[in-house]
Amino acid sequence: MSEAAVTQRGTRAPGDDHAFAPAGWPAPDARRRLQLALGALWLLDAILQYQPVMFTRAFSQMLAAAAEGNPAFVSRPILWDAHLVGQHPVALNTTFATIQLLLALGIAWRPTVRPALGASVVWAVAVWWLGEGLGGVLTGTASPVSGAPGPVILYALLAVLLWPRDRGRRAPGSAGPAVPFVAARAVGAPAARALWLVLWASLAYFALLPANRAPQALHAMLTGVTEGEPAWLASISAHGAAFLAHHGLAASLVLAVLLALIAIGVCLPPSAARPTLAVAAVLAAAIWVAGQDLGGILTGSGTDPGSGPLLILLVLAYWPVRTAGARTDGPQADQTQANEAQANEAQASRGPAAGRAVT
């Protein structure tokens, strides 16, 4: 059962007591690592879904709350779903949690990564509708601070961007396509940039909604998430709320400008894109801690880790690939970095398992 016992039979070379890596296991490339991170978030979701409170009627009430403020075509299926879960909480919650567990393990198991990612898109969209009420985007109260457009839709977006497929022309002497960042491998750089632009521009738009730019809106949002949280985490939100009290409009404007800059960040040269993406990651982390209190996980009733980790994962998927000794900006930078990306990521195809695994 030990690590050495697991692997040494096939890989320990004579005289090398430390060669424990299994033969034929290609080290995960950048995209595979991001896929595994996405799978890890699904697994965390599954474990959270197995929490005791999820087997009670409180879960159905949680679902029903997502219908509030939504138009009828959205809210009716949500209420039907909540009613059904309320009648069979144990059976349905077990099913939900097990589905998420299988999605996670399917992503981790290389031969099933494609069906698992495909199923995760379907599941995420269904949960986004029936569990999150489309993230509240149609209610007029969606806010990036509270996790709009809904954490679960980000799972679907990531599954699409990390789909194990290579699109685009191949660079000379390389096995993979020429892409400036990992997210462009599956859908191409223009489509990936468009998706990023839509996401972050929509967040900027949500930040400027009337409900969010009211003087006390952000203050109320931050104070509303502290219930049941540990004292240290609640105090962070409380301090943030005190700082933003009566400054809702100014804070919303600053937030919207930041989000808009982030939205165009991936269209900039890599030397400018990196700091923009770093700001995006820091902002996502700040919102996750102060605005979402880590998704409410520490209260014992959180169903997911919130949007912060997913946005950070998205940032990593768009992070320009660094090239040593090459230009880091300008028109040739994308091509140069793409070549570097291929050199790093083509190693997955060198191993015997790669052909049927990731790429």
């Binding site: 059962m1 039979r9 096939g10 430390h18 299994p22 890890a40 959270l48 015997p352």
Partner: protein, 261 residues
């Protein structure tokens, strides 16, 4: 909260099966003098029993403080192993012209963290339940522990470990495809490169064990004749099965840690 109770029972059964499997590996390793890390198998055997007892209280054969002491010793042991690995790797890297890659590192850190997580859970649950609900099982409201952030960090580690292990499963299956040949010389001659090394390492474990008689008929049936392990032992030592058990243990531990929140 009926859900967690039956869920705890299912997970406890899984942990007992895992513990039994690890114990079987220990027996096979001893009889065949395999160079496996028996300390890890031993700790996981104990860990499986302890986790089952934490999930379902009537399965717990020992009081929590005893378990805590045992896993504290395990933490210290694997801490020393991890430090020793790191030190030997540094020495080897200094001597080598090319540094060894991360993929070739032995991994005692996960076992270290798992032992540490057990100590945390035992102490945190014990501190709460001893004063409120003696005999309370995991998943009940009284098991909410102290330092929830630590529980969350440990749970995230378990989740990451599960993904890392599951990602390697296909490769582990290929490693297991190496079959023992009747004669070591024939096996080594017929399997090239990495396969040959694999076979060499495997054959080195198949010497006739001098202490086999001590294990009696049961172990003789399990491990088979000298120099040729039977299919049952071969399957039980499957790397993929071992990794699956580690995954099950890490998932269960992650669940137990989340219950501490």
């Amino acid at each position: 909260m009926t859900g967690p109770f039956w869920l705890a029972g299912v997970l406890a059964a899984l942990m007992i099966a895992t513990a039994a499997y690890c114990a079987t590996r220990l027996i096979i390793a001893r009889v065949h003098r395999r160079p496996d890390e028996r300390d890890v198998d031993l700790v996981h055997t104990v860990m499986g029993v302890a986790m089952a007892g934490m999930l379902v209280s009537w399965l717990n054969p020992l009081p929590n403080p005893v378990w805590a002491v045992m896993f504290s010793a395990g933490t210290a042991w694997f801490g020393w192993r991890a430090w020793h690995d790191r030190r030997s790797r540094a020495v080897r890297d200094a001597a080598a012209t090319r540094p060894t890659g991360r993929a070739s590192q032995p991994h005692h850190v996960p076992h270290l963290v798992m032992c540490g997580a057990m100590v945390y859970m035992l102490l945190a649950v014990g501190a709460v339940t001893s004063a409120t609900h003696p005999g309370t099982i995991m998943g009940s409201p009284a098991t909410v522990g102290r330092f929830p952030l630590l529980a969350l960090i440990l749970a995230v580690f378990m989740v990451a470990y599960v993904m890392w292990q599951a990602d390697r499963l296909p490769a582990l299956a290929r490693v297991n495809s190496a079959r023992p040949a009747p004669a070591p010389a024939l096996a080594l001659a017929s399997v090239p490169s990495a396969g040959g090394q694999a076979m060499q390492a495997y054959e080195a474990t198949l010497d006739p064990p001098s202490g086999q008689r001590r294990w009696g008929m049961l172990s003789r049936r399990l491990v088979g004749r000298d120099n040729m392990p039977p299919p049952l032992a071969h399957r039980l030592m499957s790397p993929r099965l071992a990794a699956c058990c580690q995954i099950a243990m890490a998932v269960t531990m992650g669940y137990m840690l989340i219950l501490m929140l």
